[in-house]
Every structure is written in C-alpha cells, then in structure tokens.
Amino acid sequence: MAFLHLCKTDEIEPGSSLRVEPDKLPPLAVFNVDGEFFVINDTCSHGDASLCDGEIENGEVECPWHNAKFCIKSGKALTFPAVEAQKTYLTRVVDGCVGIEV
C-alpha cells in the first residue's frame, strides 16, 4: 500500500467536492463532509456523469443526470436508477493533504 496524494484539504470547502484524475485510476471524487474527507469513484455507476457536478446533502451526493443518490461514506447506491455502489477508497489526511491508500 502506498499513500497517493490527491489534493490539499483547503482546496475543498465543507459540503463540496473536487474531481481528481490520477494516473492509472478512474476519475475520483474527493468530498469534504463537515471537515471529514472521503474518496469514491467520480463516474456514476449508472450513467456517464460526474458526481462532482452533483448536489451534496446529509452525507449523500445526487448524480446530476438521473438523480440517483449515493452515500458518500460507504459508496452505497441509495436510490434508483443506480443499483451498484460507487467504489470507495481508504482515505487519509497527512500534513494538510488528502490522499488514498492504493
């Protein structure tokens, strides 16, 4: 396992997200939920849309295309038409940087 740096913590306001495109990984969505950071795949498991363009509320993100909701923490698909979970990543904050273990 290695720590992959994605962004600085101060690049993402609480209640917002940032899309990051690391090498050899699918596009990732980094969320700041009340100061806690979570990383999941950015492309919706249902349609070809970026979850970083979606509305964030109560720890959930709503896909901007078909309005499927996902739990940001667990990646779980909460509403139709999505039925498959978003892949989640073990996320850590080190020295003001958000990263994942890969």
Partner: protein
C-alpha cells in the same frame, strides 16, 4: 406561415432547425441527433439541459423529471421546451439515443379495438405512410381536443401498410385514455408522432431474449417477442414473464401471438390471488421478479432483458439482475417513465 428556429448545441458544431411548436428534444431527434432522453413526457429527467442563449416556453413547469433545486439553477427539460427564438443549449448526447428511424408525425385513423383484459385493449390505427419503427419503441399519441399527449408502445411490427397497434390501459380519470376508450370510434383520427425510445430489440445480440412486462408494458414486449421470430439464429427460445394483479388481468399471450410465427415460453404471474381460491389459476403467484431465476434455464448473465411496466416492477427486476446476479446493466433495456 410556419416559422423555424435554429438550435445550436454548445460544445459541438451540431445544429438543427426546430419547427414552430416542436420541442427541442423531438426536433433534434428528427434531425438524427442523439440527444439523451428516455420518456419524452417530463418524467425521467434524462433530457435536462442548460439554456445558454435564447428563449423557450416550458410546456410542463411542474414536470417531475427536475428537482426544484435544479430548476432554480436554470435546468430545463428538452422534451418540454419549445423555442421562441434561435437557441444555444448544452445537453448530453450519445450515439445510442439517435433513432434508427427518424421520428415523424402522421394523422392516423382508428381501424378497430379489441379488449385483452377488463381494462386493456388493443387499438389499431392506419396512417398513409409505412409504419417504420423498431420492436419495443413507442409513439406519442395526441387526441383532438385534449391538450396533452401520451407515450404508448407499439405492440405490432413495422409494416409497409401503415398499420399501428397499441395496447392501452384505461387509467381512471386519465384524459387521454378516457378519450380513447369512451369517445374515439373507428374512422376517427388522432395524431401519431414517432418512433421514440431506446428499449428496442437488439437484433445483432445473440443472447437469449427475456421479456418482462406488467400492465400496459405488455405492448412493447409483445412487439419484441413477435420480432424475435425473424432472427436468423434464434438459438434458445425467447422467454416472457408477465405480471398482473389477478387472473383476469393476465392477457392470453399465446393467442395474441398466433399468426406471428413467434415461439416463446410464457409465464404469467399474479400478485393478488382470489381470497377464496375460487379462480382456476395454475401460474405463479407473487411478484414477477421472484420467478425470473426459477423460470430461466439459462444462467441469468447470459440473457438480454427487455422490461416494461410499473416502476416498482422495473426497479425490483433491475436490482435482482444487476445487484444480486451481476448481469451487466448494458444487457437490460427499458425506457424509464419515472
């Protein structure tokens, strides 16, 4: 004089002319563009777009396909917006949405009606031009004097004679279906606009065909079952499951397929058996998704699925197939009217 407006797509060189009164979505599809959509009636939200420049009229400001928050941010539905000027719009697109048959309007004369269950009938219409569509597609029907149109799927196959067949359920209080059932007589005319829809039979995919329908979802699945007979390598027999509430809600599918050369396995399912067991019922009892695995002799991931019916049925079937049985979502076809 009919005026036209020019619609440009932001981020691409594509543009198209939209006739006065036509929606942004339908006009784009008529021009062969693959604008993203499913239902055409403001319910699914797939055709949401940003208006970059120009003015539009919104035919259905309360359409459920958009959240209030999205409206506040200026999102609109292309299926419900009619331009009032030249426009530039930003909308999702994909080759899979471009209709193989470009949709067009035609006046259609009612030629007959036959009941298939107590609340569903086959309505037949004739147009002056060939009936061109893919099995599983739908058309928008407009009846005179009712300021609304409805999406109904064809239950027959494309033909040069201009015959269109729809299986329509009477919706209590429904303006369009009430008109069709109570007012329309043979010889009367309506307008048909189509074909639309992306849940058509994939003729080039050799996997076993499974049709799953409930209620008036019967129509597109019947069309797909009929069309399956013309596939050169049918391989395994197509399977159709149909869910209804009581035995009288189950249409006589084998009889309806007579003369179509389609040989299928048909499994009816009822959800509400007669409490005293009085009705003679030999089919399955429960919800249709509960019997898919039991009725398919083929591994579930090796089939191609076509779904049409009530939203809870579609959701249960998709959850079962994708989440539990790992069927790729690309093998499941339905137009989401919710």
């Amino acid at each position: 004089m009919t005026s036209q407006f020019q619609i440009s797509l932001s981020g691409s060189d594509a543009s198209y002319a939209c006739d006065d009164g036509d929606t942004l979505l339908r006009a784009g599809l008529r021009h062969g563009l693959g604008l993203a959509y499913e239902c055409n009636v403001g319910a699914c939200g797939s055709c949401k777009f940003d208006l970059i420049e120009g003015e539009v009229d919104d035919l259905f400001p309360a359409a459920p396909g958009l959240r209030p928050k999205e409206r506040e941010r200026g999102k609109r539905l292309a299926c419900q917006c009619v331009p009032r000027s030249d426009c530039t719009i930003k909308i999702r697109s994909g080759a899979e949405y471009a209709s193989a048959v470009r949709p067009g309007r035609a006046t259609a004369r009612c030629t007959g009606r036959v009941a298939v269950t107590p609340d569903m009938s086959i309505f037949t219409f004739s147009t002056g031009r060939p009936a061109a569509f893919l099995a599983g597609q739908y058309a928008m029907l407009t009846v005179p004097g009712v300021g609304q149109n409805r999406a109904y799927s064809m239950s027959n196959l494309a033909n040069p004679n201009g015959d269109w067949e729809f299986i329509i359920r009477r919706v209590p209080g429904g303006q369009v279906s009430s008109h069709l059932f109570d007012t329309l007589k043979p010889g009367d005319s309506i307008e048909i606009d189509g074909p639309y829809g992306v849940a058509y039979l994939r003729r080039d995919i050799p996997r076993r065909i499974v049709g799953i329908a409930g209620g008036s979802g019967l129509a597109p699945v019947m069309s797909i079952m009929k069309d399956s007979a013309s596939l050169p390598t049918a391989g395994s027999t197509p399977v159709m499951l149909f869910g209804g509430r009581t035995p009288k809600d189950i249409p006589d599918v084998p009889k309806l397929l007579e003369g179509s050369a389609a040989a299928i396995e048909f499994y009816p399912v009822i959800s509400a058996p007669e409490p005293d067991g009085s009705a003679d019922w030999s089919g399955d009892t429960g919800f249709v998704h509960e019997f898919i695995e039991h009725r398919l002799s083929t591994p579930l991931a090796e089939c191609e699925y076509y779904l049409a019916g009530p939203p809870p049925m579609i959701e249960s079937v998709v959850r079962l197939l994708v989440a539990e049985h790992k069927v790729p979502a690309s093998q499941i076809h339905f137009d989401r009217f919710f």
